[in-house]
């Protein structure tokens, strides 16, 4: 392979057509409410951990739907499970159980 000093940059397009997202399906079994999320961001706004870190439950749910959990799972480590998101969610999603279920379905990669 010749190094020309420039190369192909990978496409940032998400190809999710038939990406069988088994993990998300399992999460949906454990907590069907995750489907009700309308990504309004109330949870992220009122998040106790969000005051100190970039924790955002909205982005986590969305990235799980897109199969891109690697980018957002580290955020969940900061969650104190205080339950404020549970109180403010306009869709009445049991966000605490969702977070706990995510912990059971998705695995953190030991990159360190």
């Amino acid at each position: 392979m010749i190094d020309f000093g420039y190369g192909l940059t990978p496409s940032s397009t998400l190809k999710i057509e038939n990406v069988a997202n088994p993990a998300f399906e399992e999460l949906r079994q454990r907590e069907p409410d995750v489907a009700k999320c309308i990504a309004c961001g109330s949870c992220t706004a009122s998040c106790s951990a969000g005051v100190f870190t970039e924790m955002s439950l909205r982005r986590v749910i969305l990235s799980l739907q897109r199969g891109r959990e690697k980018e957002t799972l580290p955020m969940l480590q900061h969650c104190m499970l205080c339950g404020k998101c549970l109180l403010v969610c306009p869709r009445g999603i049991n966000t605490r159980h969702l977070i706990l279920s995510i912990g059971k379905v998705y695995k953190m990669e030991e990159d360190r």
């Binding site: 397009t13 998400l14 969305l62 869709r91």
Partner: protein, 339 residues
């Protein structure tokens, strides 16, 4: 002999207004350019938000037309003002002299082929909401096989300068969610996506339908406008959009794409407007005296509107506007003419 009123447009607005006028003792002359009464409703299978059959709304109306002279496949050839009456000449040779004309010309479904980049009329697997409704109504076997991923594209020809329609057509979001649930029933293990900019579920029980779509039918909502559609070598579609909430472009291979064509102003609005010398708004729909205060009266004496002729409307709004137009006509005809 009771006074006549000319009603132009045989859709739900025209029919309902005619029935009300008849009940008020007038003889409505209902003119419909297509062979069938009922307008777009005649083509629809089930209505949001609860999915009741369109037939159950239309059939009783169409069955109750005695006392109304209606002419299908007939158009208005000319209208002229004679003192305080209008002389209306019809394409079937008849003519009527009336003091009030009700324009219930409704809307045209936006021609989805105008959005070339979506490929309607070019890719087999791209259909419109009307085509889908036809298929639901026909009960025929599915036209395509291996339908595993289905997409609904909102705002086709609505809120779109390039398509010449800046206004929101109001009904396509809730129709899309309804059809998404219906199609999921037909293809239970398909994944259904809805591409929206803003999901406008404003009416009563609309939000419940949205919630049901999410929870029970597993419809996936992607916040992002579809930019282009292309066909791969086996005839399936590539749909491109940006997931604006996630901030990344998105490409999905789909087996069926439904374009939610919006409500465009009726093509022959200008023609009729010229005949009776009234204006259409910048958006092409007729201009009532005031959108809030008197949506059914026009700027010209004796000319009235009802239904989607003055802008996108849901069916209940159309029917109630038809009733209020009938009353407006009744009040106008009952006031003594100024000598």
């Amino acid at each position: 002999m009771s006074q006549n009123v000319v009603v132009i447009g045989g859709g739900p607005a025209g029919i309902e207004a005619s029935r009300r006028l008849r009940d008020l003792g007038y003889t409505p002359i209902l003119i419909e350019k297509t062979p069938v009464l009922g307008g777009h409703l005649a083509r629809w299978d089930r209505l949001f938000p609860e999915g009741i059959e369109a037939r159950t709304v239309l059939d009783p109306m169409v069955a109750d037309l005695d006392g109304i002279k209606y002419f299908t496949e007939t158009e208005v050839s000319s209208i002229n003002r004679l003192k305080d009456t209008w002389v209306v000449k019809l394409s079937n040779g008849l003519s009527a002299q009336v003091r009030a004309i009700l324009l219930t010309t409704g809307f045209d479904l936006f021609k989805a082929e105008k959005k070339e980049e979506y490929g309607y009329g070019i890719y087999e697997r791209v259909i419109t909401n009307a085509d889908l409704e036809d298929w639901f109504k026909s009960g025929a076997a599915p036209q395509f096989d291996a339908v595993n991923v289905i997409g609904f594209v909102h705002c086709v020809g609505s809120r779109d300068e390039k398509a010449g329609n800046r206004q929101c057509s109001k009904v396509c979001c809730v129709t899309a969610v309804k059809q998404a649930c219906e199609i999921k029933e037909k293809f239970p293990d398909a994944t259904v996506y809805c591409f929206y900019m803003d999901l406008r579920m404003f009416g009563r029980k609309y939000e419940d339908l949205y919630l049901k779509a999410q929870k029970d039918y597993g419809i996936r909502f992607v916040r992002g406008r579809v930019s282009e559609v292309s066909e791969d070598n086996d005839g399936h579609l590539f749909v491109k959009a940006e997931d604006t909430l996630f901030g990344k472009p998105l490409k999905i291979k789909m087996d069926l794409l439904v374009l939610m064509a919006g409500m465009a102003p009726a093509a022959d609005n200008h023609q009729l407007a010229r005949m009776v010398n009234i204006q259409t708004g910048e958006d092409g729909f007729y201009l009532p005296q005031s959108i809030i205060g008197s949506p059914c009266t026009s700027s010209r004496e004796g000319i009235f509107f009802a239904g989607a002729a003055t802008g996108p409307k849901t069916l209940p709004e159309t029917l109630s506007e038809a009733a209020s137009a009938a009353l407006a006509i009744d009040r106008y005809l009952k006031t003594p003419q100024k000598k």
